[in-house]
């Protein structure tokens, strides 16, 4: 039998050194007794602990996961923890992957211990309540806490980083931690009577606690799972929990019993800030009206109506299909990747983007939410029809000579019927009202094409189409 005595309850290095040597000497777990210096178990151990056996050349590796678990589990209050950890280590030596087997009893036990320690650490971070000693600049902040496991050293750095600019002490029966503004230090545990009994802010804190609680939603069990009663002793707010609960049902009952009041006269009713401003001219009025369109269900999920934009005296009107993700968020047409593609092509064709009016056949973004993205959906005929009123009214406000329909949805809107792009593309077509129409692809179609060659070819065709518009624009400059 080997008798190992560790220096302290949290002596991980001592345990590791001893365990390593024991494993290398093939000492089976049942042949080791672990004690801590000055601890109760030590009384039953022989007066002289076994010397740590010399380690011969052999080495072995354990996974980092075990080291993490062991470092936490060794802080557990269970006196058996050293032995349990050694048993697991002994088995890990020849079976490296065992640590991943969550169903193994040793792995499960060590994992549970580590978890309990981390939970206790987390609760210490949450439930320490400092009390101020002295005032303002010279103040020192002292807390009393009763951890379940040996976690003071583990939990202290958190407070040092958080409250770096104030001197504090956390007193516990186990060990006390101190921060002087520069360094952490530890002293032996003390009794509760050494800690300050109150703080001038506690009454304010209790008032806050009472006010933020909604008596209509009593869920005492949920509270207790997260804030077990064992911690209540040292929480200043805990003293009012019971009266609050007792009062809650009475209050809710009274609130419901009392007939709802008639609305009072508003104390002040200034102009609601979100109301619309009167529109300045026709196109603006139209835009304002369209912002409230409910003619089809597409408005429901979209952010906003994306209306056309451009000079009122434009001779060319470009019609796209519908706004995309970016357009929907920004509220302007053709600002996304397809918009950039369009800008580039217009420039190459010799059309100044600033001289054309750009709009979409359908003014709201249609999509399907898929997790964090929105999948673009093609508008259906009823939606295109419902939205056509806006297109028509834009045409009468702008009075363009040429309308360029980009893509099938746009063509359907411009011609009032389903119009395949392939057959009509690239030539001027007379519209019944005397304007001309030109059909081409939508720039986002170019973005979707596979392969750089196809892309370049189609892009060139698109530019050629736009050149027809450019030529027409030059021929019929609008009278100023």
């Amino acid at each position: 039998m080997q008798y190992i005595t560790l220096d302290t309850e949290t002596d991980f290095d001592g345990w590791r050194k001893a365990a390593r040597s024991l494993v290398l000497h093939h000492v089976t777990p049942t042949d080791v007794t672990w004690t801590v210096q000055g601890g109760e178990a030590e009384l039953f151990a022989p007066p002289a602990p076994s010397p740590i056996l010399e380690v011969n050349d052999g080495t072995f590796n354990v996974s980092a996961k075990f080291v993490d678990l062991a470092q936490a589990a060794i802080l557990h209050c269970d006196p058996e923890r050293f032995a349990i950890l050694y048993r697991l280590l002994f088995r890990l030596k020849d079976n490296h992957d065992l640590i991943e087997v969550a169903t193994d009893p040793d792995v499960a036990q060590v994992t549970a211990m580590a978890r309990a320690v981390h939970r206790d650490e987390h609760k210490m971070h949450a439930f320490v309540r400092f009390r101020e000693i002295g005032r303002e600049r010279a103040a020192h902040y002292v807390a009393w806490f009763e951890p379940e496991h040996h976690i003071v050293e583990l939990a202290a750095p958190f407070f040092a980083k958080r409250f770096a600019d104030m001197p504090w002490s956390i007193l516990t029966p186990d060990l006390c931690a101190h921060w002087d503004g520069h360094a952490l230090s530890f002293t032996p545990g003390v009794s509760k009577s050494e800690a300050p009994g109150e703080d001038r802010l506690e009454e304010t804190w209790r008032r806050y606690y009472a006010s933020i609680f909604n008596p209509a939603r009593l869920k005492v069990k949920a509270m207790q799972t997260e804030m077990p009663k064992k911690y209540w002793r040292n929480l200043p707010e805990a003293s009012i929990i019971k009266p609050l609960i007792e009062d809650a049902e009475r209050m809710t009952g009274a609130m419901i019993a009392k007939a709802a009041a008639d609305p009072h006269k508003p104390q002040k009713r200034p102009e609601a800030p979100m109301t619309r401003k009167p529109a300045a001219d026709d196109l603006d009025a139209l835009r304002e009206e369209a912002a409230h369109c409910r003619a089809c269900p597409l408005y429901k999920d979209a952010t906003q109506t994306v209306f056309g934009e451009g000079p009122k005296d434009a001779t060319i009107m470009l019609v796209g299909e519908q706004p995309g993700d970016k357009e929907d968020l920004v509220g302007h047409p053709f600002v996304g990747p397809a918009g950039q593609m369009l800008d580039r092509a217009l420039e190459e064709a010799g059309v100044d983007r600033k001289t054309v009016y750009v709009t979409n056949a359908v003014k709201h973004f249609k999509f399907l939410p898929r997790g964090k993205i929105r999948l673009h959906q093609k508008p259906a005929t009823p939606e295109i029809k419902a939205c056509r009123q806006w297109y028509e009214r834009e045409v009468s406000a702008i009075q363009p000579d040429l309308i360029v329909a980009m893509g099938a949805t746009a063509a359907q809107s411009v011609f009032g019927k389903i119009t395949p792009v392939g057959k009509t593309r690239g030539r001027l077509i007379d519209l019944p009202d005397g304007r001309k129409a030109l059909v081409t692809v939508h720039p986002s179609y170019l973005l979707r094409l596979p392969g750089p060659e196809a892309k370049a070819l189609e892009y060139q065709r698109f530019v050629e189409d736009l050149k027809i518009a450019a030529a027409l624009q030059k021929k019929t400059p609008r009278a100023a």
């Binding site: 949450a126 008596p215 069990k221 419901i256 979100m274 939410p369 997790g371």
Partner: protein, 411 residues
């Protein structure tokens, strides 16, 4: 009026907002010795719990509960008879720092009634954050409520100081908002959410860009929103559809569901019954299924368009899809395992790691932290196979229903 009294009024006025978390922000601390505070990456810290079961991690207050608007569901509406109060900027700053120093809180959640104009209100809210960050070098968590349609520059500044920004959608459907809050405009709320998302995206792009320029800071904990449940007639399907849309459109971190709570001095247009807390709980579970388990809204809710109250939505789904079960735990894919009642994401990870090394048996379920009772009818293990008639039995659902119990205080 003294600060304590103001605190009572302005915390009371804020308690119907369900957002409380202090999670998901960047890691910061004050170890440089300048100022105070730190943030926990990942999970935030709940410093206390109220008897309503909700965590208290932030000083959650309104700057003022005076409001120009008259939203019927809101205790602070213009026509409500509640006592009014208004904090000064310095009062909120001092309370935050004093509470923080004693380790009562993780930081501040600041909202406000809308006074004068959205810009004026937003400017006041931002001032508190600015003072905390720039004058006191406060490194704790700050959550600011964004006022719809406030000026872009103010929103940018808010995002510079705040960890999280939020703006409440309030109602699942536009029609209910029109009915209950005629002065609020869903489009304005959505437009503001859209602007927040664009700014969040920009900040993210600037972080991943390989330039030397300092990445732009904008609300590292993202944006969230709240929806009030049970004040209007919207069904669960509508509510979850709205959430899915909000998550997808604006990259929200969280949608909070707040069961409509009877409020003091309530308007006659509102229900006065106790809040449907269980319904709220089921909605959170369903929301969780959408975000972490790959469920679609359409799968979660059946034709009734309401979630069952007696069993959780995943179990309800499994009972509707018995043909997909039982699943062999030692063989099924991750996606399949995630759909087994009682299997959480962590348990599924443990199962996958474990089965690489060994076969999983009945006795192992406890160590994998899987509730046997719930999972057994749906799974096959090397030493367990549910009798085929069990899964087909019409009475299977009864097995899962909670036994009727007296609701008590647990004291």
């Amino acid at each position: 009026m003294d600060v304590q009294r103001k605190l009572e009024i302005l915390a009371d006025a804020a308690k119907y907002d369900a957002s409380c978390a202090s999670s998901g922000t960047e890691q910061r601390d004050s170890s440089d010795g300048k100022g105070m505070g730190s943030t926990a990456p990942g999970m935030g810290i709940c410093h206390s719990y109220a008897p309503d079961g909700r965590c208290i991690s932030l000083l959650k207050v309104l700057l003022t509960n005076a409001c120009n608007y008259d939203c019927l569901y809101c205790v602070n509406r213009a026509s409500s008879n509640v006592p009014r109060a208004r904090f000064t900027i310095d009062e909120v700053v001092k309370l935050t720092l004093d509470f923080y120093r004693r380790n009562y809180i993780e930081g501040l959640f600041l909202s406000s009634g809308i006074i004068r104009s959205p810009d004026y209100t937003m400017e006041q809210v931002v001032s508190v954050a600015r003072k905390l960050r720039e004058e006191h070098h406060f490194r704790g968590y700050i959550h600011l409520k964004t006022i719809p349609e406030a000026d872009d520059a103010l929103i940018a500044e808010a995002g510079k100081y705040a960890d999280r920004l939020s703006i409440n959608i309030e109602m699942p459907e536009e029609t209910s908002l029109q009915q209950f809050a005629p002065e609020k405009d869903v489009r304005a709320i959505r437009r503001t959410m859209g602007r927040l998302r664009l700014k969040l995206d920009e900040a993210e792009d600037s972080r991943s860009a390989k330039t030397k320029a300092k990445p732009q800071r904008f609300a590292p904990a993202g944006q969230s929103t709240q929806m009030i449940v049970g004040a209007d007639g919207a069904n669960d399907h509508t509510i979850l559809r709205t959430s899915a849309n909000l998550y997808g459109s604006y990259r929200l971190r969280r949608v909070y569901y707040s069961a409509f709570s009877p409020i003091p001095d309530a308007s006659r247009a509102l229900p006065l019954r106790a809040p449907p807390l269980l319904r709220e709980h089921r909605l959170y579970q369903a929301d969780w299924l959408m975000r972490f388990y790959g469920f679609d809204v359409g799968e979660i809710v059946d034709d009734s368009a309401m979630l069952p109250l007696d069993i959780d939505p995943k179990l309800a789904w499994a009972l509707r899809h018995r043909d997909r079960f039982p699943l062999d735990v030692n063989r099924a894919s991750r996606e399949e395992l995630l759909r087994v009642p009682g299997f959480g994401t962590k348990a599924v990870e443990r199962i996958i790691a474990t089965r690489r090394a060994t076969t999983i048996r009945l006795a192992d379920l406890a160590r994998l932290h899987v509730p046997r009772h719930k999972a057994l009818p749906f799974i096959v293990l090397s030493d367990h196979r549910p009798a085929p008639h069990r899964l087909d039995a019409a009475g299977l659902i009864e097995r899962f229903k909670p036994k009727a119990t007296q609701l008590g205080f647990g004291f």
